[in-house]
Amino acid sequence: MKVLMFGWEFPPHITGGLGTACYGLVKGLAKKNINVIFVVPRLFGGEDNRTAYLLSASDVEINERNFNYEEYWKNIKYYEIGSSLIPYVGPEDFLKLIGKESTVNTHFDEKVFRAKYQFSGKYGESLYAEVSRYALIASVLAKEHAHDVIHAHDWLTYPAGMAAKKASGKPLVVHVHATEFDRSGENINQYVFDIERKGMEAADRVITVSHLTRRYVIERYGIPAEKVFTVHNAVEPVNTDEIHQNKGFPEKLVTFLGRITFQKGPDYFVEAAYKVFKKDPNIRFVMAGSGDMLNRMVRRVAHYRMGHKFQFAGFLKGEEVYRLFNISDVYVMPSVSEPFGISPLEAMRSNVPVIISKQSGVSEVLQYAFKVDFWDVDALADAIYGLTHYDGLSKMFRRYGREEVDNLKWDNSAQHIIDIYNSLNNS
């Protein structure tokens, strides 16, 4: 089976959980002998064609004003011949990628394709234009490359998915990692909402990352429940033993890590921290990340006069995240709205007990995590106090949490998705 998959970002240049999730999913599918053609915009593949299996959609210059389908067609052909960027990824290649087998004469490795991707798809003026340009190219790619299923991740790629479906007539699966309601609360962007709804309506199957999101899709977008399926995300098993960070202070460390925006509920973390701080000033808090609510959080912390125990670490990249988990004693994700939320799984993988909000999708798959309502600051403070003071509790969470998260494999998620693909071809 061949899948034409449209994404927006891919590690290491990621702005959120989407890239991480796509990466894990593609790996999981490849393990199960599914061919994936993964298309992302703005992949700089020209200078090194070893990144073959990733397709860039933005290397081709198109003069949109004089746009002519025939011309465009030629451009693509030329482009493909010229750059010899063959966008297939065979199962053997992928097997090599994940280190199971190395029989085939492929010449790319994980590092190379990781370094190649350059992300530019930030929400800007030109974003809408990029989305539609992406869709144009998608229709061409759909004719060029034989496939059985089209799979599109999040609204940015839905137009591409729809265009591809029109071109090849193959079934479309859209994957909802977040809805506009998660990103913007109730003040949604109508343009984005419309794209999302059209994409879901046009799709033969809709995959959501949690039951919470599934409910949103059914209730708010009016999508028939029988074609919406939940496939929970998983987490890549990564060896974090090599990463070591010396903890320079004796206090227990309670960590918030994420964008400091309304959606992530940083204010609830600060309020809970203050409640704990009043009870026991020998606990340290850290808020890592950046966002539009950062300054407000700084003022709040200063107002509570706890700046000497509450630090701001700024935006952390790559390995720094694991270094922070390495010295953390509790990880808190008090998200107001979180379709899934991969970061608690990453924390648990690093043996950090987690507290998550009940309003997060990840709470559906975790047993060994404290779950509180995001607005319940007292419960949050209780949980922090308990995990930092009662060793029995934190030990249990650490041990079973690790076990639990190790069982959340992309293989399982991939199998779910394959089942959904199969249901399409059978019908």
Partner: protein
């Protein structure tokens, strides 16, 4: 006779480097050596060296008729020693002429006068010692950080042995009065006060190069005319400004050096003013009245108050967190730690956290190497956290020892109600229980602090009284 009293402030802070969260407890070096050195070198070339040369030339030309005063913060002196010994030498040469007075101030250009008398005294002492060691003179007049002054601060300054202090001629303090007289402290009349004439001072320090100013360009003739226009009975014009005015705030291209070079000549030729130092003014002039300053004033911003350094949550949290460590710092005897303690108190760190960008935003931005006050706060608190950890490693974490008895309290004990008069409710024949209660009381009292003990003893005596 009428007098002009020049005082120039020389100060450089030890700027903090970007200190990251991961470094807390792992890295104990806080200062941005590169920035501190390069800024010091830049200011030395643009301001300190040429201006010192200019002042030296003027003194050579006019002899004892031209006199000025400097206040050089301890951090600036430390930076001279480290990065610009040539500047230090040129200051020594100036002091040796006998026409230059050095004022006393806090070593680290700190706000300690607002917080702790003992710390304030020790920093002033440290500064005086350093000045004496380097220049061979002992400061007799005092200038507090940013000219911060209040009745109370003046009293402390007199207690330290200074007989005069310089401060701002703030409008809201003077109202109809003129700054051009000698005043005295309201609580301690023996402490004389020299008040900055901010109009005449800021004409040079801030407005000199401003082309939008109606009086631009400012010439020495015009300036002397203004000096002459001051009522002839007024005795002294105090021109207080940052030394960096010359060549740094006002670039050489603006003609500021030429202005200064020719000012004495114009003054001597066209007016009856003469130049004197602050301590001479204090000896020569009689105070006309006491000045009441119940709340601290400063020379900063439109408000002339403390809001450039203290007042918003960021500043107050940082300031309180810093001085909460004071008792522990006193317990230690580590020279490196004490040095950091001094440098962390420099007022500039709090200035960077100022959020009032409206009235004096431009001035603030000029002195600030952080993008936002939030960044300044985050960085400072990271450093302070590490400093506290070092302190705790030497003294032990006091907070923990305080908490131990509190935790013990929560152990289960049969409750004893100690309320005045309850003894009267006990029947006379239940004698057996009384010693028990006494024992329990004693146990309780050993675990409470002194305050509650005294409280209890008063309640006891009260109950006894009510018994009687």
């Amino acid at each position: 006779m009428r007098a002009i009293c020049f005082y120039f402030q020389v100060h450089q802070p030890f700027r903090l480097r970007r200190y990251r969260f991961f470094e807390i407890g792992n890295n104990h070096y806080y200062f941005d050596d590169f920035a501190n050195q390069s800024i010091m070198r830049k200011v030395a070339e643009k301001c300190y060296l040429p201006t010192n040369q200019l002042m030296y030339d003027l003194i050579q030309e006019y002899g004892t008729r031209f006199k000025i005063a400097y206040s050089i913060s301890g951090t600036a002196l430390d930076q001279f020693e480290r990065y610009a010994p040539d500047v230090l030498e040129s200051f020594k040469r100036l002091v040796n002429t006998g026409c230059v007075e050095i004022l006393g101030e806090t070593y680290s250009h700190s706000l300690s006068a607002l917080k702790d008398k003992e710390e304030f005294f020790s920093q002033v002492r440290l500064h005086s010692e350093k000045v004496e060691r380097l220049f061979g003179v002992k400061p007799t007049s005092f200038r507090n950080t940013e000219l911060i002054y209040s009745d109370h601060i003046g009293q402390m300054v007199y207690e330290m042995g200074f007989n005069g202090q310089l401060t701002e001629g703030a409008k809201h303090i003077l109202s109809w009065k003129s700054p051009n007289y000698l005043y005295c402290n309201a609580l301690e009349p023996r402490l004389k006060l020299l008040l900055k004439n901010y109009q005449m001072s800021d004409d040079i320090a801030f407005r000199f190069s401003n082309r939008a100013w109606t009086e631009w360009p400012l010439t020495t003739e015009k300036y002397v005319d203004w000096l002459n226009a001051i009522d002839s009975r007024q005795e002294i014009v105090n021109l207080f400004m940052d030394y960096e005015t010359f060549g740094e705030h006002q670039w050489a291209e603006t003609g500021i050096f030429e202005f200064m070079r020719h000012l004495p000549k114009a003054v001597f030729a066209k007016s009856n003013y003469q130049f004197i130092t602050p301590s001479e003014a204090i000896d020569l002039l009689d105070p006309v009245a006491p000045i009441h300053v119940p709340y601290p004033i400063s020379w900063a911003d439109e408000e002339r108050d403390l809001t450039a350094w203290l007042g918003n949550d960021l500043q107050d949290d940082a300031f309180n967190a810093l001085y909460k460590l004071l008792p522990k710092v006193r317990m230690t005897n580590d020279p490196q730690l004490y040095n950091d303690w001094l440098y962390l108190q420099t007022s500039d760190h709090f200035y960077y956290m100022c959020t009032k960008w409206f009235s004096d935003g431009d001035v603030h931005k000029y002195f600030n190497h952080y993008d936002t006050p939030y960044e300044a706060y985050i960085n400072y608190m990271n450093v302070l956290s590490d400093f506290e950890l070092r302190l705790n490693s030497l003294t032990g974490s006091e907070e923990i020892t305080i908490q131990v008895p509190e935790k013990e309290k929560s152990k289960f004990k049969p409750s004893i109600i100690v309320q005045p008069g309850t003894e009267l409710l006990y029947p006379e024949d239940v004698e057996v229980e009384k010693p028990k209660r006494k024992v329990a009381k004693r146990k309780l009292s050993t675990k409470t602090t002194k305050k509650s003990q005294t409280k209890k003893s008063t309640t006891k005596s009260k109950s006894k009284k009510s018994k009687g």
